[in-house]
């Protein structure tokens, strides 16, 4: 018992930075989990990845102007992400390019600008910090940002839930009742960017998308209702955060990759055993019902 306490609880009791990291992971799970689920349901799983690269030049400009300042880098990242989303949306609407292709075009452009800016103005350590973050270095300001973003996300998603779902489900019907699907889509993309920006201090631009997507993809394997998937996505994201922090603490591993690796392992196990979409339950033939 004492051993279990030391393994699972005492790191958080003894160290404030671990407690802050844990609360940060909970807030990230609450915001990013549902956002990731909507990305998966809208067949935009790779869009999160694209957007995570797209925020880089904004974060870099923030860094050039104010150094490793959270507000400056967050604001910069947010504007860069929204700009890429808006330009991609405009390209899709007014030119003959599909949305995934236009996102690919703009995020690659954005990424190259970001890497150029960072390499001109900082050193490799700075670049590594922006790309990979450090959840153990989350301070009060970063925690507040993550918590605010999670709150905004949950409130906004509950408000736009119905039109957003209908826009994915039956877009022509939505237009036939006079509703404009594009507004909800854009609002949703802004939430995606917000969550990536919130995550990049803790996990870095590259890893933030992992906590968004892996639990969401896993959730689809465990449930066939939106409510069930939301619960699984948030639960897996938080459990990965908790487990990743403990792994990082006990084995002196970098925290961001440890968290995402754990989420990835949960995904692999779910691929095999999850009751709704797992491979094995599909092969084990349960006795069928009467109707």
């Amino acid at each position: 018992m004492q051993h279990l306490y030391e393994l699972l609880v005492s790191p958080f009791v003894d160290f404030a930075f671990m407690r802050r990291a844990l609360v940060g992971c909970l807030a990230l799970a609450l915001g990013s989990g549902p956002i990731g689920l909507f990305l998966v349901m809208r067949r935009m799983s790779l869009m999160g990845d694209a957007m995570s690269h797209a925020v880089l030049p904004g974060a870099a400009v923030g860094f050039m102007l104010a150094g490793l300042s959270l507000p400056a880098m967050s604001l910069g990242g947010f504007f860069a992400g929204v700009l890429v989303a808006a330009l991609s949306g405009l390209a899709t609407r007014y030119a003959g390019v599909k949305e995934d292709a236009s996102f690919a075009g703009f995020y690659l452009l954005s990424l190259s600008i970001g890497v150029l800016l960072v390499s001109r103005s900082g050193n490799n350590v700075d670049l590594m910090h922006i790309l990979f973050g450090s959840v153990l270095a989350v301070d009060d300001a970063a925690l507040l940002l993550v918590a605010i973003v999670a709150t905004i996300t949950l409130v906004a998603l509950s408000v736009i839930y119905r039109p957003l779902l209908l826009e994915s489900l039956d877009p022509v019907f939505l237009r036939s009742v006079g509703a404009r699907g594009g507004i909800w889509h854009m609002a949703f993309l802004m939430l995606v960017v917000l969550n990536l920006v919130a995550g990049f201090q803790a996990l870095g631009t590259l890893m933030a998308v992992g906590l968004m997507m892996l639990p969401a993809i896993t959730a689809r394997l465990w449930s066939d209702s939106v409510e069930g998937m939301l619960a699984v996505a948030v639960g897996v994201a938080f459990a990965s955060g908790l487990g990743g922090l403990l792994l990082s603490y006990h084995f002196e591993l970098p925290s961001g990759p440890a968290i995402i690796l754990l989420a990835g392992l949960v995904y692999i196990v779910s691929l095999l055993f999850a009751p709704v979409g797992g491979a094995l339950p599909r092969y084990i033939r349960a006795r069928h019902l009467e109707s």
């Binding site: 408000v159 877009p171 019907f173 209702s225």
Partner: protein
């Protein structure tokens, strides 16, 4: 109340799917939009519900608003992989009452369940839409139309790939809507269905071949002309010189 098309043209990459379509629909009656594949029937319907913007011309609605129009899309337009239940899909028919944010509540869900009952699928309410056959799913979409309770009903290929029983049951609903004085406009492929259930027909082949009483429209000559016109396509067609056509 008037629903009319005024020189409506919709094109894809400058090639018209429909062009210079003008005319008014008979209100309170049933009109079939009939024509060969590639005639622009579904495109015209989408332009009428505002899902496609005409390059030229306009759709005129007088004495009615969006609330008065219900639209049945083709099943291929709907993403059935989403984890949505049958009841939730039918309840989207209450959009005009609830708006994007309003609560549907118990009365709304009760009405959705009544609509499902009318198409014989009340027991399927909690199932996900992915689990339905295409015939069952079509009944669900008809239940949504029932819930919308609109004066004008637009149906895009409503009986495609349906078995005889489903087609018969859904045609009875169409008949009922006519008796209730609603305007039904349906894109159809089955000539016999058109002759039997739709007193008016718009024969389309990118342009209007004929529009009026079904018996006068579905003649051998006009049907042949429709097939020939729809089949005619040139990669380097000259620029259309037609400015407009009188209704």
């Amino acid at each position: 109340m008037r629903l009319a098309l005024d020189n409506v043209t919709v094109s894809y990459q400058r090639h018209p799917a429909v062009h210079h379509v003008s005319g008014g629909f008979a209100m309170g009656e049933a009109t079939a939009i009939f024509g060969p594949n590639g005639a622009g029937k579904s495109t015209l319907l989408k332009a009428m519900v505002g899902a496609l913007k005409p390059d030229q011309g306009k759709v005129t609605m007088e004495g009615m608003s969006r609330k008065d129009i219900a639209y049945l899309p083709q099943q291929s337009e709907i993403d059935r992989s989403l984890p949505v239940t049958v009841l939730e899909l039918v309840a989207t028919g209450l959009w005009h009452q609830s708006g994007p944010f309003g609560k549907l509540g118990r009365p709304g869900m009760g009405r959705a369940l009544d609509a499902l009952e009318q198409v014989g699928l009340a027991d399927f309410a909690p199932r996900t839409i992915a689990a339905l056959s295409s015939g069952q799913f079509q009944r669900v979409l008809f239940a949504r139309i029932l819930l919308q309770d609109a004066r004008v009903i637009l149906l895009d290929e409503p009986f495609n790939a349906m078995d005889a029983k489903t087609t018969h049951d859904l045609l009875q609903l169409v008949k009922r809507w006519q008796q209730e004085g609603r305007t039904v406009i349906a894109v159809l492929h089955d000539e016999e269905q058109v002759r039997q259930y739709f007193p008016h027909t718009l024969l389309l082949a990118r342009e209007v071949v004929a529009w009026g009483d079904t018996r006068n429209v579905l003649t051998v000559d006009k049907l042949r002309r429709a097939v020939e016109t729809a089949a005619h396509w040139q990669a380097r067609a000259p620029i259309c010189q037609t400015e407009g056509v009188e209704a």
